[in-house]
Subunit: 136 residues, 2 copies
Amino acid sequence: MTSKQEFIEKLRNSSLRPTKQRINICEVLFNRDKTFHFTINDLFNLIKDKTGEKVSLATVYNTVDAFLKKGYLKEIPINSNQTYFDTNVTDHHHFFDVKEEKLIDIKNEDVGPIEIQKSIPGKKIKSVEVLVKLED
Amino acid sequence: MTSKQEFIEKLRNSSLRPTKQRINICEVLFNRDKTFHFTINDLFNLIKDKTGEKVSLATVYNTVDAFLKKGYLKEIPINSNQTYFDTNVTDHHHFFDVKEEKLIDIKNEDVGPIEIQKSIPGKKIKSVEVLVKLED
DNA sequence: AATCTTCTTTAGAATAATTATAAACAACGA
DNA sequence: TCGTTGTTTATAATTATTCTAAAGAAGATT
């Protein structure tokens, strides 16, 4: 069980005051067993459903952005009309079921080490992400 | 030198009549030595510059979509406000220079084989793409 | 607790990419 | 050439995201 204190800590770490709205957002994002893949719209709707309180879209966008910058959320590189996020911020990869528009985590171990045998002068590698598209 | 005949063939294969506008689009897309990474907006502007003729945005979108479906172009999975495409339709991967918003090809050999040790019942793998984000 | 300052929320407007529409036009086959 | 069908285009519509500014809430100070 994730406690309200942890949410408040996460918020403070992200330079955000712990408000009712933001705690509701945390409740939906972080009070879970499994990793959570979502779009802003998913999140927006789930907040209403789970907490019974409405949080404005702008607040949802702002809070997600702050968590992203702080590293409490990850953006998933994928081409879609909407941006997908992930509560799993460890190194890992994804299946994307194109037909059902659904993401599935792939553990790092299930992909094995990826050695990039090419480098760009003056640049260093920030992340390596594998996207595996699925079809029927 | 890529010939107009090849463009016409590509268009016919994509169930598109070879019109002046579409041939201009092909000229910009396929008359090149190296791979070409672009957004619709890039392409739209280059057509004006290179051919001196304007093609409407709608036509650019429609033609790119048809080539995508036919496999003459690839969409690059990346999170950006705009969608990126690639004229290199062979299996390969990408660097993305986050700061400069620029894509660089990585040959398949420079990444090595990627073995996905996980499978989803009823689904098969359509593609495996690696995105390497670069920072300074 | 009262007050002040600063941050936050919110609805709605603004922006930007993409898709849809429907009228004028061009390619193709007879 | 003519008729059919596909195409182009400007513009409107849609959708995700960002911006704005006014009202409200949190935190610090007394």
